[in-house]
């Protein structure tokens, strides 16, 4: 459709965040949820009402009350405080590993589609092999092979262990999207202009596969949080008594959920809310970044 008047160029909104909030109200809400969780995670020492490790034998399996908002667990520890401390583990491990895995996967996928031929074939066969293992099995292999390695209290190898199984999954999906971008005339135009491979991959192809990338990224945050919980359960991830959402769900909560449903209710809600917020935020970000949705 035709654009008529020259003077109708939209006035620049000074603040990109305001613009985002105006166009993607749901995205803004989910961003606030993410921010709240992050703040809670980062400043948990100040925010949490109790020590997450403090055992209180008087309050075993205590129901939610004014004193303990989310109740207490089988050791009498305050669930609310443990959730707040757990946010740190969940966000650091979940978000970082998903981000690292998806980004590596996306670059691999775009490069695979761009070069095509033999390179594409080899990359995809390696991807096939990696895809044959369930996320958790592959993560186990990585942890077992590399052991534990912590930098500033963050378990780098655990992040890698969860990130590596994500790489082939994202690479496969992004490659499919990139294949259709690869045959677009604007990519040919860039090649005809003699641009470098790096430039074509990062400047011309990658921005056009951002939609599947963001969807995969946000979807794998949830998977990563759950994978971290499973690894913890198997004794390879975060260990009891450290507060972690997955651990709270998978530990002895299973034995007590009939008497104390809050033991699984609140960690479950926390994981769902985090997953939901990341998914919604990813969707909004995808729409926001697409110039075609700008009026």
């Amino acid at each position: 459709m035709t654009i008529a008047a020259p003077a109708e160029a939209a006035p620049r909104v000074p603040n990109a965040a305001m613009e985002f909030a105006r166009r993607q109200p749901l995205g803004a809400i989910s961003f606030v949820i993410i921010c709240v969780m992050m703040t809670a995670g980062i400043f948990c020492e100040w925010v949490a009402p109790y020590d997450p490790l403090a055992i209180d034998f008087v309050q075993l399996l205590g129901a939610p009350s004014l004193e303990h908002w989310c109740g207490t667990d089988a050791y009498g520890r305050d669930i609310c405080s443990r959730l707040i401390y757990g946010a740190r583990t969940a966000l650091v491990i979940g978000f970082t590993s998903s981000f690292v895995g998806s980004t590596l996967g996306a670059i691999l996928g775009v490069a695979s589609a761009y070069f095509g031929g033999r390179i594409d074939n080899w990359i995809q066969r390696v991807v096939d092999i990696l895809l044959a293992f369930p996320i958790i099995v592959l993560a186990l292999v990585v942890v077992a092979a590399f052991g534990r390695f912590a930098v500033a209290g963050i378990d780098v190898n655990l992040i890698l262990a969860i990130a590596i199984p994500i790489v082939p999954r994202v690479a496969r999906v992004v490659r499919a999207a990139a294949l259709s971008v690869r045959v677009m005339p604007y990519v040919d135009a860039a090649r005809a202009a003699g641009y470098s491979h790096t430039r074509i991959i990062f400047r011309h192809m990658a921005p056009n596969v951002v939609a599947p990338y963001l969807i995969m990224l946000t979807a794998f945050i949830a998977q990563a949080i759950l994978a971290e919980a499973s690894l913890s359960f198997l004794g390879l991830g975060v260990q009891e008594p450290t507060a972690a959402w997955g651990l709270m769900l998978s530990g002895n909560a299973a034995d007590f959920y009939r008497q104390a449903p809050w033991m699984i209710l609140f960690p479950g809600v926390a994981i769902s809310l985090a997953v939901f917020a990341f998914n919604l935020f990813g969707d909004s970000l995808r729409d926001y970044l697409d110039p075609r949705f700008k009026v």
């Binding site: 459709m1 008529a4 005339p185 040919d188 135009a189 202009a193 430039r199």
Partner: protein, 672 residues
Amino acid sequence: MRPQTASACLLDVADLHVHFETSRGIVRAVEGLSFQVRRGEVVAIVGESGSGKSVSALAVMRLLPRLTGRTRGRILFDGKSLLDLDDEAMRQIRGRDISMIFQEPMTSLNPLLTVGLQITEPLTIHLGMSDEAARARAVELLQLVGIPDAESRLDQYPHQFSGGMRQRVMIAIGLACNPKLIIADEPTTALDVTIQAQILELMKELSRKLDIALIVITHNLGVVARYADRVIVMYAARMVEEGAAEAVFHRPRHPYSMGLLHSVPRLDHPRGARLETIEGLVPNLANAPPGCRFGPRCPFRIEACAEEPELLPTDTGAQARCHRVAEIAEGRITWAGSGVAGTAQTARDGGALLSVRHLTKHFPVRGRFGSSGGRVVRAVEDVSFDIAPGETLGLVGESGCGKTTVGRLILRLEQPTGGEISFAGADMLTASAAELQAIRRKIQVIFQDPYSSLNPRMTVGQIVGEPLHVYKLSPDAKAAQARVAELLSQVGLRPELGERYPHQLSGGQRQRVGIARALALEPSFIVCDEAVSALDVSIQGQIINLLEDLQRRLGLAYLFIAHDLAVVRHISMRVVVMYFGRVMEVADRDAIYADALHPYTKVLLDAAPVPDPTIEKARAPRLIQGELPSHAAPPTGCVFNTRCPMASAECRATVPPLEEKRPGHFAACIKV
């Protein structure tokens, strides 16, 4: 033949309005359209994209989206008011009394169902035929539309049919229930010119023989001239002129029809120095200007044009929506040529800028396990030509003839299998990476589809400015910005458009951005791959003129790849004709068009419809028969022998060499 009922009028559309509710406001796609179609009559609706022609047809079929589309007015079909029928009754009419043929034969058949099933489906649904009866009728229909060996082809799937054959199947489905009216939406646009000629013949003959009324929606004026008894010209949601085909073509009475007929390059007229064009763009239907819709682009605008004109009867028995109809009829207003005469004729005395020798490209055929097994598709076989500095070489041929591959090989987007390409004396195939980089800057490309040739994530300014940045052609950001503005104004765009994203521009504007991007590297040679074929007629003229202006000003050489013979004739100085990967004929433009030697060139020129109903209706049926050969089983000897009217046993045995039959006129045929 159906007996004539009392009323001769089959379809009576009165004051039809179609509105769409969109996020950007109400789009008035059709406003106050009234027309009649008589039994057995062929009516053509002509207009550019967005003029409302397809929407009107969908409104008649009641196929518009229910939630957003609003249809108002009266549509009487065979005495029944279609807009008042319930859904069930309407479904009875669709496919039985009115059928529709769509543009894209590749996607309008279901790939998972056999062709037979798709033809018999309407027969069993609408006419309640038994399976055997329906099958017998399907065989009959396939024979009717000229598909040989109909019985066995019923059990085949759509992918086993060529594009032309699929369109024949679509026509067979359309005819299945003996409809009274067929609506064909751009029925031949996606087809090659020789196939288009066959389908046009078929539809015309069938509509006469079976007394079926036909509404043909098209933008191709040649197709209209070939078919139509009556023509409706639409512009920006309104009918601007309606009348007998001869009247509208020979004595148009609306400035838009006049402009449209002037802006197509024509094979039947002497080549003008410059195409006359309609300036400006089609208005946005979401906020259309008051008054005459064509007013802002009309060279004969007067004050009265601020008022929307009524449809006025003309001296030609037609009606036109223009205040100045009487003046046009008296010949006091004629479409003035904006023609700055300037023929870009370059003497070819110097050396060649680009020289292609024995260029060959074979694509391996992937077998089941990825191995080629030695089988190849010979996309380009032994192609040689030269292009002089400042020259335009036209490269014509049907789809699959290898013309686009030749362009891609020159751009080094594909690696040639054999042959040589040298540019300004340097061999491109043995050049080092650095040398190739330097050569690439001098060779640029303009693509066909203005929608997919620009990166949707970059602004126009970024797209045009990127080469400056990569090759550090501008000392600083400010100089780069100034250069982008200069490039944009060079192609006729306002520099403010640099802030926009491609989707905010019209097709013609995007094509101009593509040209500006190509010019940024200051090339001396541009490959134009179907650079104007996706554009509307009036925009196409503007872009061709722009390309010619740039050529004169910057001394550019073009390789102009196209399937439209009239456009190639207009822009080229020499022409190469390709067929099935090989060069058939090379000669100066006038020699090719006035005195073609090769039988394929003759057939191609014969098949192209001319926008003149008198010529078209007097013309004998087209010569060309058959389909393009398959790459799986290429013909032996001359590749054209399977369709050539002159072919003999010798043609099947030897591959004819490209020989100089006359000075500067080469042809690959042993018979001439």
